[in-house]
């Protein structure tokens, strides 16, 4: 008996047509890890935040393109003059997937659960201060009043993070008010999100949103495989590409690789200045000298870091605020120029001297220290190696130590047993208040000298004062003036040597329409409800 391929019959062709139509209404994306939780209030990792962003409704959404807050479940809002109270007028006619109506009670109950200390929600911390936490009460079925214990700047942006769930929800996670609901979940393999049939939003032509029927996220840890699958048309968008893979895609499939410009993120180096750190006193003295820190900053070739490590997809940094942050970046602040001669001059003024190619301090100690960074980050390892060579020209001997992330965190937050550290900061919110947990001297994440009982230097005291002052008013100009001064102090004192701001590098298939990649997370699918997926184009992604 011979086997042969049978020609497709007419019903089979129809089936193919139906299959291809339904497949076209699904977007295929990837997550790099399994979400640690599907509870929207406990989301702390990128995968969980992605699912939360797409499945949950919020009162106000910060538009990732314009950075402006826009009405969502709240139709409108008003903020009191003293910036302590916000009144939301809720949208009428919104329903949960089970058909129950959305009311003020749902908002109040959501916040009660969120702020429950037993939940340990990372989102709740934003609404808590030393003077207490935010209090919410309803006024009728569609008005909610939120009272903050102290004046809070940009308070409306804080509500972008809080998922509103049904007051009648028996347990979490529960179908939310987002554009999608969780469909099929295959642990370790994929998560499918289906369109929320009860979603309230419509497009400009009155069509119900979202435009696609579903989104399938495949769990794909390997970035190379992710790109390969994109090239095959199995994945429609990639939210974060490495510079290396971006350039590769740009050459292989021009038009699909998009550089969305500088992100709000930054890569930086800092020295351990903590007095209690188990570091030799002589080394601590170097690190506590602003002249030494500025000299190191001057000796690092930021342009080379951007050109070589990030393949020109990064911008040299002058401080914590990226030039992409148009509202808060201090105009006129420029990155430290690469100037080893000026660096040596500064070091000379501090008593350092170059002898036989070795830099020595006043007591004759050779200047040598280690830089720690997290293992597995190719870009950080490369940056550390380039900095090592740059500083070798000043006579400094640098050891690079790569550590697994838990060990690194243990050293920089608890034991403080390290000398210098190279890391990055992912900044989601453009508002300066987002940097409070890093810049306040009392903060546990204050990198160079964490958890100070009182500011140990006058300039740190001034930063504390200015940061608290900017957070205590809603007047933009007053806030900007204070925060500009903070940026100036950071530039003068250089407690952190800001290196660069990486660009958002994404991939968008030609079959996706409506994509407008931005520099803020999520870069590609922030407007997922308005994305549509056509058929796969011939000859590429």
């Amino acid at each position: 008996m011979k086997l042969r391929f049978a020609p497709p019959s007419i019903p089979m062709l129809l089936l193919f047509a139906i299959a291809s139509t339904s497949a076209a209404a699904e977007l295929h994306l990837t997550l790099h890890d399994e979400p640690k939780t599907l509870d929207p209030w406990l989301a702390a990792d990128e995968s969980a935040e992605t699912i939360q962003y797409l499945t949950e409704g919020v009162l106000i959404r910060v538009n990732r393109l314009t950075q402006q807050p826009e009405p969502e479940l709240a139709e409108s809002w008003s903020i009191s003059k003293d910036a302590t109270r916000i009144v939301f007028q809720l949208r009428h006619g919104v329903k949960f997937p089970d058909g129950s109506p959305f009311t003020a009670e749902d908002v109040v109950r959501s916040f009660e659960r969120l702020l429950d200390p037993a939940l340990h929600s990372p989102v709740a911390d934003t609404f808590k201060t030393d003077h207490g936490s935010v209090k919410l009460r309803s006024d009728g079925t569609h008005t909610v009043i939120a009272q903050f214990p102290t004046p809070t700047a940009s308070m409306e942006s804080l509500f972008d993070q809080v998922a509103i769930v049904s007051a009648k929800a028996p347990q979490r996670p529960y179908p939310g008010l987002g554009a999608f609901v969780i469909g099929e979940r295959r642990p370790g393999v994929s998560i499918q999100l289906k369109r929320n049939p009860a979603y309230w939003k419509r497009d400009i032509n009155g069509r119900p949103l979202p435009l696609v029927d579903s989104i399938r996220f495949d769990i794909e840890q390997n970035r190379d495989l992710e790109l390969l699958r994109f090239r095959r048309g199995e994945v429609d968008m990639i939210d974060k590409l490495t510079p290396e893979l971006f350039d590769r895609l740009a050459s292989e499939a021009p038009g699909t690789a998009i550089d969305a410009g500088p992100t709000l993120d930054s890569e930086f180096l800092w020295f351990n200045q903590a007095r209690r750190a188990p570091v030799p006193d002589a080394t601590k003295e170097w690190f506590q000298s602003a002249g030494f820190r500025r000299a190191v900053s001057l000796a690092i070739n930021r342009a080379d870091l951007c050109r070589i490590v990030y393949r020109s997809h990064a911008t040299p940094a002058s401080g914590p605020v990226s030039p992409a942050n148009k509202l808060w970046f201090k105009e006129g602040l420029v990155p430290e120029p690469f100037d080893p001669a000026a660096a040596l001059k500064l070091l000379g003024a501090d008593g350092f001297r170059l002898e036989g190619g070795v830099l020595r301090d006043q007591r004759g100690n050779p200047v040598q220290f280690s830089i720690i960074t997290n293992a597995g980050s190719k870009t950080r390892e490369q940056m550390a190696t380039m900095i090592q060579q740059d500083l070798a020209k000043l006579g400094m001997k640098i050891s690079i130590v790569t550590l697994d992330f838990p060990s690194l965190l243990e050293r920089i937050t608890r034991s403080l047993n390290y000398e210098a550290c190279l890391l990055g900061l992912v900044n989601v919110d453009a508002d300066p208040s987002e940097l409070m947990n890093m810049l306040l001297s009392s903060a546990s994440n204050h990198p160079w000298n964490p958890s100070q009982k009182s500011p140990e230097t006058p300039w740190e005291a001034e930063i504390d004062r200015l940061m608290l002052a900017q957070a205590a008013t809603a007047d933009y100009h007053a806030r900007k003036k204070n925060f500009d001064r903070v940026q100036e102090i950071l530039h003068e004192q250089t407690p952190v040597i800001y290196l660069l701001h990486p660009n958002a590098l994404v991939a968008v298939s030609r079959r996706v329409t409506g994509a407008k990649p931005t520099a803020s997370f999520p870069h590609t699918f922030w407007n997922a409800e308005r994305l549509s997926a056509g058929t796969k184009p011939q000859g590429g992604p």
């Binding site: 190379d224 490590v309 220290f369 293992a375 190696t385 090592q388 130590v401 697994d404």
Partner: protein, 267 residues
């Protein structure tokens, strides 16, 4: 088989010669960054091109060979000395000491090496030179790797202890030390040598694994593990010269297996 063995010995000898004096063969220093020419293709100046930071790949491969090729045998030697001492003692003494050493060996064999190395590495002082860090890494590997050869040595010693020629020597009044040096050690030596040869590629591959995870030899010192990380991107189809460290690794590991004749494993 003899030809293959001879070829393997010749290849290892050549690589050892290069590894012993890399400065004779390398055209540039391994750490020098030619920043104007990152990712350069092969040329007369850079026969294997340059890496992402503009460093000469050939020079890094030669210096990396020194690290992996010379320190792996040192680690293997250390583990074999420990194995000879502990395995020999267990085999000769028997009883409680034997049971304790065997239990310790089982414990070491059941430990997840990689995690153990990560823990030990995290506890090491940070401000050590790359050369010191690589020496410490291989020392640790050597100290952790004694268990498997120790079990082999113990089994051999126990077998020899109950053999006829040892029994006859004892019957003729041979003293314990003479018995050890004249009867046992010469018979265990080939087994130890075999264990030594078998261990070398294992240590080379372990360092390679650590290097590929970014936890091996500290920058800027090159090692095969660190060099193999360039293959992660899968560019070797368009840039086959990136495969040079992988080919060298395969040749060396294969050669070590060929050098050891099958009969060397037998007691």
């Amino acid at each position: 088989m003899k030809t293959a063995r001879a070829a393997a010995i010749a290849l290892l000898a050549v690589i050892a010669l290069i590894a012993l004096a890399p400065e004779w063969w390398a055209t540039n220093r391994y750490e020098t960054q030619f920043r104007a020419t990152p990712d350069a293709p092969p040329s007369a100046r850079f026969p294997l091109g340059t890496d992402a930071l503009g460093r000469d790949r050939l020079s890094r491969l030669i210096y990396g060979t020194r690290v992996s090729f010379l320190l792996a045998p040192a680690a293997a030697l250390l583990s074999c000395i420990a194995a000879a001492a502990l395995g020999g003692l267990a085999g000769l003494a028997g009883g409680f000491l034997d049971r304790t050493i065997v239990a310790a060996a089982d414990l070491f064999l059941s430990l997840p090496w990689l995690f153990l190395l990560l823990i030990v590495r995290a506890c090491l002082p940070l401000n050590v030179s790359p050369a010191a860090s690589v020496t410490i890494t291989f020392l640790l590997l050597g100290m952790l790797g004694w268990a498997a050869p120790a079990r082999v040595v113990r089994a051999a010693v126990r077998k020899l202890k109950s053999s006829d020629f040892v029994f006859m020597a004892r019957a003729r009044g041979c003293r314990p030390w003479r018995l050890l040096w004249r009867q046992l050690v010469p018979n265990v030596a080939p087994i130890l040598l075999a264990q030594f040869w078998v261990s070398i590629p294992i240590y080379i591959l372990t360092e390679t694994t650590l290097g590929m995870l970014g936890l091996g030899v500290a920058e800027p010192l090159p090692s095969w593990g660190g060099l193999l990380r360039e293959l992660e991107g899968g560019y070797f189809i368009a840039q086959p010269y990136l495969l040079a460290p992988a080919i060298l690794l395969a040749l060396v590991v294969g050669s070590f297996q060929l050098v050891l004749a099958r009969e060397d494993f037998s007691i």
